[in-house]
Homo-oligomer: 246 residues x 2
């Protein structure tokens, strides 16, 4: 068998072929499999690095740029950052409006407000860890779309372990340090466990879904996950509080 | 001049030397500059990719692992994620306790609560974008420690552009859609502008500081920035509200 790459292949695919075989150069062929040139390892080193940079920029909600940081102007760098910041700023307003729906609950149990940042933070971080691992796995072809079932089942079991550990630590802290009483401690800890499971599943599922839809999985990262999980967190928290406290 | 790498060089440094010169192989010498072997481009492709993966895992608050995702067990993957999740969960409690300090302000101006998720989200995202660019720039040697002054001055000007744009959009939304009145709209929008400047400066400064202290800049990313910025956001918000509303 002859190993080759095609003129229309994505540069990430070409880089993965190089890594797989360790060759110094590969033939490039057109759609009729006619040789059109060769590509060498030194081109590929730059590609591997540029692809990682591009993924990172997407994951931090930036419009990717190939220009080096020091050579980019202030407005050019601002333009990379503004579109998604604006979208997420407006998106997060939805999260805020959930709070206003539960104003009466919050005014009865003022102590609940105190745990909102911790819950949103923990949910966002758990989902972020999961999506980062899957996005990177898909980019390096360590994980493929056929593994989706296996990945989600693994993430689910991980989420149970992580959820139980964090909920237990939180429960001890709520009871012994915050001293907020059994009912509130149970509400907050149950939210911790539940939101970790949900966040990890969202973080695992979205990159796979993006891949399936032929979008770049790197867009399903940190800021998007955080915004979604923030909303989920408040709904779970106020939902559980409505049941457990009233 | 002979280009070589040393046995004690970090693999990231070696990868950067390869990229710089595009050689197929480089001599490796010991501390007395005696030849101990050679290193070839195919080793380096793996290194470039592994380093990017490691940085990504650190940036998502995970303990880096070289094991492939599918070959790692559930408990192994949970163990990568738990330490930082626990630390940030406890760290975010501090943020929560800031809220309790301003309970009376919040009960007078209940509407303020509604904007907390949006403010924390926007601050976290802005800081995250900035830290991602600087961390990546340091890793690829596109940015060096000597550029610190230039980088921070650039980030400051970017933060003014981003801050003014987002604050303006937010002000229009507060007045026309949320209809929360001039005073609250001004308070929220001034917080947006101020927290973006602070978050971008924190996001730009911390990776440079880590590099200076010979730590991996990748630890100064998303989750840490988010936790710090969440606290800053609440202090700025309640501080401004105390001045502008009462």
């Amino acid at each position: 068998d002859i190993i080759y790459v095609e003129t229309h292949d994505d540069q990430e695919t070409v880089a993965n072929t190089f890594k797989k075989y360790g060759f110094m150069a590969l033939p490039v062929v057109d759609r009729e499999h006619r040789l059109t040139g060769i590509i060498t390892f030194d081109d590929i080193m730059t590609v591997i690095e540029d692809e990682a940079t591009e993924d990172l920029q997407r994951m931090a909600a930036m419009v990717p740029s190939e220009e080096s940081y020091l050579n980019s102007g202030v407005f050019q760098l601002a333009k990379m950052r503004l579109p998604w910041l604006l979208i997420f700023m407006l998106g997060a307003s939805v999260t805020g409006s959930i709070i206003t729906k539960f104003e009466s609950l919050l005014s009865t149990y003022v102590v609940l407000t105190m745990f909102i940042p911790m819950l949103m933070n923990t949910g966002g971080n758990s989902g972020n860890q999961s999506s980062t691992l899957i996005i990177r796995g898909l980019a390096t072809e360590d994980v493929s779309l056929e593994d989706a079932g296996k990945v989600l089942w693994k993430e689910f079991r991980i989420s149970l372990v992580v959820g139980i550990v964090l909920a237990t630590v939180n429960f001890a802290k709520n009871m012994l340090i915050d001293r907020v009483g059994l009912q509130v401690s149970l509400t907050v800890s149950a939210t911790v466990a539940l939101i970790i499971v949900l966040a990890i599943m969202v973080g695992g599922l979205l990159p796979l879904l993006a891949k399936k839809l032929k979008l770049d999985p790197a867009i399903m990262a940190g800021p998007l996950i955080t915004t979604l999980v923030d909303g989920l967190t408040l709904m779970v928290y106020f939902g559980l509080a409505s049941v457990l406290l009233i």
